[in-house]
């Protein structure tokens, strides 16, 4: 039995028939466009598909069924926190008062949303132990850019313009070094210690008058709490640099560790991980950024302000000369933030702490279950996720982590994140989250254990996986060598239309 639907669909363009689907919108007067100047006009109308509603619905419903999703099954994609997305939050974001509000509407018209945003900023500041929060960044990566630009502005304001280096551990997420480049800085990669933690001595050696910032993910991308974080933060500050915390893994430490209290100067939150806003097949998310006292002046504009009379308003353009400016249009991904707010209110402080307790318990339990079948390169208490490795299996049988991942599909599961972090040989990063039952965790462990046995007994079966998916392994080489990135009528001739 397949884990997802099997009905492959022809493209929208192949379904199109001239003349279909007109009539939803009344036709405007013939002369409505007469005033358009000739040179600005389009000569040929765009060749968009023409479909009627039943076909559109069937197309997209059938397509949706080709997807594996949290709503259909266990999705232990490490680093992504694929927890259940409460339905109340989808309802809330669609309330007309929230959904129809124009982002340039006067403050007087937007008090409900402004209040929500202001309270959310406060809640995130409390969770992160930070002084203030901006909700503007559209995702974690944009939060990183925001944070690093603020750090840069801080150094420049102090006349410290030679600080061009951003130190990251080699286990860091790709967005960290990519962010440093976008901010005009240079990445220095520091190797991890053998126990998977930051190598404090290596960091000390790399720190210096050129260091602008250190970016640390805590718990790390290996799912480990950085036990020496206090020492590292002291060293960073002694060198005159600032410390950025990548908060992607906050789901492990809610109510247990507040980065700001520990000495981090700035951090981002991935609300689409920790606070359960849906991942949307790749997005949207939101990446609020919390800062300590030193960076408050540099926060992007506009901030949400509370007036003496208790009303709320958005900061005006240019009101705070020290701001790094805007990262995007308008205030932020407000519709996502409404969901995050609802999630935080549903849990309260006690509930959020339980979230982390259960997420960490589930990860440790699952790790324990896999102990005999897989390598556990960092075998100590993990946080919300852990790395298992198929290095020994590969040496014994030739079966790789990729094969195991594909075979998991046949067993009805979404594979974990594989080959990340890059420093682990044949690694798989497994994050069960707190919303999966023990029965599910056991079933997943049983499947992984069974596959490890199959690797020995029936390796071809593992190599041929997946068998029970709408398509089998793909020809990625041709896709990259001869990119076909848009539908052209001729493409249909090359590949038969599925039906």
């Amino acid at each position: 039995m397949g884990v997802v639907g099997e009905r492959l669909q022809p493209s929208l363009f192949e379904r199109s028939r001239p003349g279909r689907g007109d009539g939803k919108i009344p036709h405007p007067p013939q002369d409505a466009l007469d005033r358009l100047p000739g040179p600005a006009r389009r000569r040929e109308p765009p060749a968009l598909p023409e479909l009627n509603e039943p076909e559109v619905v069937r197309h997209y419903v059938n397509l949706s069924q080709l997807n594996y999703a949290v709503d259909t099954g266990f999705y232990p994609l490490g680093s992504c926190t694929m927890k259940f997305n409460p339905k109340l939050n989808e309802w809330a974001a669609r309330l007309a008062g929230f959904a129809a509000l124009h982002p340039l509407a006067p403050d007087a018209v937007a008090q409900g949303t402004l209040r929500l945003l202001w309270e959310l900023e406060g809640a995130l500041a409390e969770i992160g132990g930070m002084r203030a929060v901006t909700l503007q960044p559209a995702a974690g990566a944009q939060g990183e850019l925001t944070g690093i630009l603020m750090i840069r502005a801080y150094h420049h304001a102090g006349g410290d313009t030679d600080r061009t280096d951003v130190l990251v551990p080699d286990s860091s997420h790709g967005t960290n070094p990519a962010t440093a480049t976008m901010a005009g800085l240079r990445t220095v990669t520091v190797p991890s210690a053998p126990d998977g933690g930051v190598d404090v001595d290596a960091f000390r050696a790399a720190l210096g008058p050129r260091t602008a910032a250190v970016m640390i993910t805590n718990p790390s991308t290996l799912g480990l709490f950085e036990e020496r974080i206090g020492e590292l933060l002291d060293a960073v500050h002694a060198a005159g640099a600032l410390a950025y915390m990548d908060g992607a893994n906050l789901n492990a430490i809610l109510g247990r560790f507040k980065p700001g209290e520990a000495g981090f100067d700035v951090m981002h939150f991935n609300v689409h991980k920790t606070f359960s806003t849906p991942h949307g097949g790749g997005g949207p998310g939101a990446g609020p950024v919390g800062v300590g006292e030193r960076l408050v002046p540099y926060l992007p504009e506009p901030r949400v302000l509370r007036e003496a009379d208790g009303s709320f308003r958005l900061e005006r353009a240019g009101e705070r000369a020290t701001s790094i400016g805007r990262l995007r249009s308008f205030v932020g991904n407000t519709g996502v933030l409404v969901r995050a707010y609802a999630y935080i209110r549903a849990h309260g402080g006690t509930g959020l702490r339980e979230v982390s307790d259960d997420a960490v318990l589930a990860a440790n339990y699952l790790k324990h279950r896999l102990r005999d079948a897989y390598d556990l390169p960092y075998d100590r208490a993990c946080k919300h996720e852990f790395v298992a490795s198929a290095a020994s299996i590969r040496r014994r049988t030739g079966i790789r982590t990729l094969d195991i991942a594909k075979r998991l599909i046949d067993h009805g599961f979404h594979p974990p994140t594989i080959y990340f972090p890059l420093i682990v040989e044949e690694g798989m990063l497994i994050e069960p989250t707190e919303t999966e039952s023990v029965e599910t965790l056991d079933a997943f462990a049983d499947a992984l254990i069974a596959i490890a046995a199959e690797a020995q007994s029936e390796p071809q079966r593992v190599r041929d996986a997946p068998r029970h998916a709408p398509v089998r392994r793909l020809d990625e080489t041709t896709a990259a060598r001869q990119p076909n990135l848009r539908w052209r009528p001729s493409a249909g001739g090359v590949m038969p239309c599925p039906d």
Binding site: R41, E90, V109, T113, L185, G281, S329, V438, L474
Partner: protein, 468 residues
């Protein structure tokens, strides 16, 4: 915890398997002096209570106004089918299609989005979404710098002020941005000043990587895009067109007038305004730029059995592979919004899209007449599609007072373009297919009454006012 499945027994079983008596043991690696202070948040709200609370917050916003506000975000009708499809959990609770075998739905929908946008823009390579129009514009400008290995970009002052601000933030650290002023008077008032562009391009010591202009521009006016493109190319620069997707049903596509990159805000394609996002950053480019375009790309291929299938491709541009040499740091994007736009386009079709654009023009022309009758005339002589600026003395105060009459009278330009001379008294107003003749009449009457009232207090007669 409201959404957790574990019973006391479940937890006890897991703890027993681990040989520990309390989950606290799993946090012993947090040094004592770094343990968090108590998390002080309001107590948990059960869903019943929370739903009432959220509805009350939403009701504190006023969305009952007759709105003529656009300025980059436009109200359009969306067939209910669009949101009903979007609410399927298979779409919104999946993530990046790292495992293509069980993500063909997302992958095909992205490929179709790329194809739809390629049709609309006339540019063949479309990335599968950026955060919004502003960040997509900044990424487009960065592409021109990478491709030309030059470090200076020119942006028209008639590009959305938030996009220009974003561009400055993205460029601030390492690259230069100069603004091309608008023509202040004459037939071209409010559009890019071509003579100034030529002067800026002529500075040989600071060669230009890209020229950025918007069509229609922020004031709703048409730019001479082919001419801007020619000037840019003659100076060895690339040309970035900032576009509004609905207008592309009737306006020349960027690929036709020589743009190398198109960027824009996809929100008008059926995405609710929701106070700023999530929206959809459109980014499209010529084939020559395929290795510079940031963000995900989905390609058509086959599986081992020869079946048609879709997969993320050309990934060596991306941060997870290239790290500090990636084209951008973008990871989480706006895929669900790209899906929303695709379903919207598929639902209304090419004729529907044209009708939406044409209704905007029709209603805007009616609005222009109604406002003129009330004594508020256009600030610029050039033609427009569905948005334009009018002069209203003391625009900000009038705008505020009109709110009390149930009218959201567009955007006072002084709020967003404080340094632009001649726009101090401007109101930027727009109409779409959702604007009704009744709303237009109410706006005209309310404005007339306001202008008459202020004329009475200052003893002035509003220009062109007539009694109704």
């Amino acid at each position: 915890m409201p959404y957790g499945p574990h019973t006391g027994d479940d937890r006890a079983r897991m703890l027993a398997a681990l040989g520990i008596d309390s989950v606290d043991r799993l946090f012993d690696d947090i040094p004592a002096h770094l343990q968090a202070s108590e998390l002080r948040l309001p107590p948990p709200e059960p869903e019943l209570q929370l739903s009432v609370h959220l509805a009350a917050l939403a009701a504190e916003n006023r969305t009952d106004l007759a709105s003529f506000l656009g300025a980059g975000v436009y109200r359009h009708w969306s067939p209910p089918a669009v949101d009903q499809i979007l609410l399927r959990g298979e779409w919104y609770t999946a993530y990046t299609p790292y495992q293509p075998e069980i993500s063909q739905g997302t992958l095909q929908s992205v490929y179709e989005y790329q194809s739809l946008m390629a049709e609309l823009t006339g540019l063949p390579v479309v990335s599968a979404s950026h955060y919004d129009g502003a960040s997509a514009t900044a990424e487009a400008a960065l592409m021109t710098c990478r491709q030309t290995r030059r470090a200076r970009v020119l942006v028209s002052a008639a590009v959305h002020p938030h996009y220009r601000a974003t561009l400055r933030t993205y460029f601030g650290a390492r690259l230069e941005v100069d603004e091309i002023p608008m023509a202040a008077s004459g037939d071209e008032a409010g559009t890019l000043d071509l003579a100034a562009l030529e002067r800026l391009l002529a500075d040989r010591d600071r060669p230009v990587a890209g020229v950025v202009a918007a069509q229609p521009n922020f004031l709703g006016l048409f730019e001479p895009m082919d001419r801007i493109g020619e000037l840019a190319h003659a100076a060895g620069a690339l040309f970035v067109a900032v576009v509004e997707p609905v207008s592309l049903a009737v306006l020349a596509p960027p690929g036709e007038y020589g743009a190398d990159v198109a960027a824009g805000e996809g929100q008008p394609m059926g995405i609710p305004a929701q106070y700023g996002g999530p929206y959809l950053g459109i980014l499209a480019a010529t084939d020559a730029l395929v290795r510079q375009i940031p963000g995900r790309l989905v390609g058509l291929t086959t599986d081992v059995d020869g079946r048609r299938a879709y997969v993320m491709t050309l990934r060596a541009r991306e941060q997870d592979i290239r790290r500090d040499r990636a084209a951008s740091n973008i990871c989480t994007n706006q895929a669900l919004l790209a899906l929303a736009a695709s379903i919207w386009l598929a639902s209304i079709g090419p004729h529907g899209l044209r009708d939406v654009a044409a209704w905007g023009a029709q209603r805007a022309a009616e609005l222009e007449s109604a406002l003129a009758a009330a004594g508020a005339f256009r600030l610029h002589p050039g033609p427009y599609l569905n948005e334009f600026a009018v002069r209203v003395p003391d625009a900000r105060a009038v705008h505020r007072r009109l709110l009390d009459r149930g009218i959201l009278a567009g955007l006072p330009l002084a709020a967003v373009l404080p340094d632009e001379r001649g726009l101090e008294d401007g109101l930027l107003v727009c109409a779409t297919e959702l604007t009704t003749p009744d709303e237009i009449a109410r706006f005209g009457e309310a404005l007339h009454a306001e202008l008459a009232a202020s004329a009475a207090t200052d003893g002035r007669v509003p220009v062109g006012a007539r009694s109704r």
